[in-house]
């Protein structure tokens, strides 16, 4: 695996080119091109503001910020998964004809989506600055939370993209599973509701690593102590974060190990 990492390092330029290619290809032949990266979150902000401020006002103040804080990272996560799961099987022309570290393909999908995520976050933060948002000090944890999510996503992506070569059910499963996963992760509802409804069983909810990651995002961006002191938005615990961190790293290592083990058969299987 060390040798594989070295090989990947030697192909870092290819990895970079793959990400750039994904981005370029996505917006080729569109007039606004790159601007769509900004339009997306902008339109979300406008629509959610109207819907949740006027049509279904909830208990949380600035619900749109709460929603976006969890939704943008989630989209990064789920888009990476969807794009990466078929990245090997959809590139037979490359995999069967040229040697290069195959992980470049799924990692390219993650990289391109990471870039989009950063662009979207940029728009989101400009919006927050415009409404004179009260940031909490924990915003400095942004890089840490992002890294945590990237680790978790990458581990999962390596696992499913390799498994999909041998069992095409994986990509269909991912489609269904992410939809369910979205609703069991406290993105559109505050975690306080879960605690209220589940009674003493609520810690079960934290088994889902995306819950921890989402809560962290909401915690550092939404600033619950200022905006929702009684809303029960934020529940983060040291042990929860530690557990999720360990899990993410373990998943990354295992995912890469699994990928390396199965990689040799890719050219024959697709």
């Amino acid at each position: 695996m060390i040798a594989k990492l070295k090989d990947l390092w030697q192909h870092r330029e290819l990895q970079y080119n793959m990400v750039v290619k994904e981005l370029k290809v996505k917006y080729k032949r569109s007039v606004l091109g790159f601007l769509w990266s900004f339009m997306n979150p902008l339109i979300m902000l406008v629509v959610f503001s109207i819907v949740f401020a006027l049509i279904i006002p909830g208990e949380l103040s600035w619900f749109v910020v709460f929603l976006m804080a969890g939704l943008l990272p989630w989209l990064f996560f789920v888009n990476s998964l969807m794009q990466a799961v078929g990245s090997i099987v959809n590139n037979p022309g490359l995999v069967k004809k040229v040697y290069f570290p195959r992980e470049v393909l799924p990692l390219g999908a993650v990289g391109a989506n990471l870039f989009h995520f950063c662009m979207q976050m940029l728009v989101f933060f400009v919006f927050l600055l415009a409404i004179r948002w009260h940031f909490s000090i924990y915003i400095v944890l942004f890089p840490f939370v992002l890294l945590l999510q990237v680790f978790f996503t990458t581990g999962l992506v390596l696992l499913i993209s390799a498994a999909n070569v041998y069992l095409r059910d994986v990509q269909h499963f991912v489609e269904v599973a992410t939809m369910a996963w979205f609703w069991i992760t406290p993105i559109v509802y505050p975690f306080g509701l879960v605690i209220a409804k589940f009674g003493k069983f609520w810690p079960i909810y934290l088994v889902n690593p995306m819950t921890d990651i989402t809560l962290l995002w909401q915690y550092i961006i939404y600033n619950p102590y200022y905006y929702a002191p009684k809303g029960g938005v934020a529940y983060i615990s040291f042990w929860g974060i530690l557990g999720t961190s360990i899990l993410s790293i373990a998943l990354l290592v295992f995912g890469y190990y699994f990928f390396c083990r199965t990689e040799r058969g890719f050219a024959e299987q697709i």
Binding site: K24, K96, V98
Partner: protein
């Protein structure tokens, strides 16, 4: 001398699945059923390629040539055995692998080169060469989707062949482009050879191996059957290919050719003739029920299927009338003009309107031509040279 590529006892097994079981349900349902057969595409292959060698791999379809190349380039992994390579490899298994139709030629050059394992810096240095080689100066900033297929493969070839690998691996892609471009490719390959680089390539065009290889390996069903200089291996290859092609027969057999002999000047059966010698093709036939006006014919083809000569009784204005019982037709060739080579003889009997084939024997027999002369070409044309000083 160091080896650029060392293939040690490599075997490769493919699982031939009877039904491609790919979904979970099927996997569970057919859990215990071994749904495949073993197919050994390579069997204990041992090849050492020295630095600076140009090695040609030849063999019939399915002999394992491409599998071996893919194992060397790490696209496939051998089931048994080890392969060691020394130096950077550029593999041309498919031209323009990974070209993105929506990117420009320029962008694709960089992307393709990095897929082949070369850095931006290396490409920067050679970018103009690549574009010039592909003859795409005017189109390099156009989208590749607007390229013609010729432009597409030229660009693919130009990238791979100009990035200066230590080992160049080419699979059957030399046949791209027009003749001028092919010539250019061969010239470039010569340059690469002169620079002391190693080349391994697969081809069906055996003449090319004679032109550029110093070693040739012939594979058959995953085994090395012959190894040596092109002069040693190529004739062997031709011979093997001939025996592969079983003489095909068809026709309704209202007239059946029971045999044919090639007779030399002395009237003895022979399979070797020298240039200028005469040859008789004696065809025996049998007719079950009388047939009106059959036409007997033959053709002499070289190993490429190129017909050197052919004729029939109809073309010669002979009317056989009603034919019955047994008989013999003799074609008397006064002088064979062919120089050296192996030729096959095909025979046919058909109706005068050519609508019904009675009996047709493709490549029924073969003979070899030998020549005392050192003239070159296919045919001997009597030629006297007058020199006026």
């Amino acid at each position: 001398m160091a080896y650029a590529v060392e293939v040690n006892d490599v075997s490769k097994m493919f699982k031939l699945h009877h039904e491609n079981v790919k979904s979970l349900k099927e996997k569970v349902l057919f859990f215990r059923r071994r749904g495949y057969e073993e197919f050994w595409a390579l069997k204990d292959i041992d090849v050492k390629v020295s630095e600076g060698d140009t090695l040609g791999l030849i063999g019939a379809n399915g002999s394992g040539k491409s599998t071996l190349l893919k194992c060397i380039t790490k696209i496939l992994y051998p089931t048994k055995g080890k392969i060691a390579t020394n130096g950077s490899i550029a593999a041309l298994l498919e031209l323009g692998a990974g070209f993105q139709p929506d990117l420009t030629g320029r962008e694709n050059v960089y992307l393709n080169a990095s897929i082949l394992g070369f850095s931006k810096k290396e490409v920067d240095k050679r970018f103009d060469d690549i574009v010039a080689f592909a003859e795409l100066e005017r189109f390099i900033d156009n989208h590749v989707r607007n390229y013609s297929s010729g432009m597409y493969v030229r660009l693919g070839f130009a990238v791979a062949i100009n990035v200066d690998p230590d080992i160049l691996i080419i699979d059957e892609v030399l046949a791209v482009g027009d003749e001028a471009f092919q010539r250019k490719c061969l010239d470039r390959i010569n340059e690469i050879q002169n620079a002391g680089k190693t080349i391994i390539f697969v081809t069906h065009n055996v003449d090319v191996t004679q032109e550029i290889c110093n070693r040739v390996i012939m594979l058959d069903q995953g085994n090395i059957v012959k190894e040596g200089t092109p002069k040693e291996v190529v004739p062997f290859y031709h011979k093997a290919m001939e025996s592969h092609e079983e003489s095909a027969e068809r026709g309704d057999r209202r007239v059946t050719v029971t045999g044919a002999e090639l007779l030399n000047g002395e009237g003895n059966p022979a399979s070797e003739f020298s240039t200028g010698e005469s040859m008789k093709i004696r065809v025996s036939y049998i007719v079950a029920e009388p047939v009106e006006d059959p036409v007997f014919g033959f053709s002499i083809d070289d190993y490429r299927g190129f017909t050197a000569y052919g004729t029939n009784t109809s073309l010669k204005g002979i009317d056989l009338g009603k034919v019955s019982g047994e008989g013999v037709v003799e074609f008397d060739l006064k002088a064979l003009p062919m120089l050296e080579g192996r030729y096959s003889v095909s025979l046919s009997v058909h109706s005068r309107d050519e609508q019904t084939v009675y009996h047709w024997l493709d490549r029924y027999t073969t003979f070899d031509m030998y020549s005392q002369m050192n003239d070159i070409g296919l045919l001997y044309i009597p030629c006297e040279i007058l020199v006026n000083p």
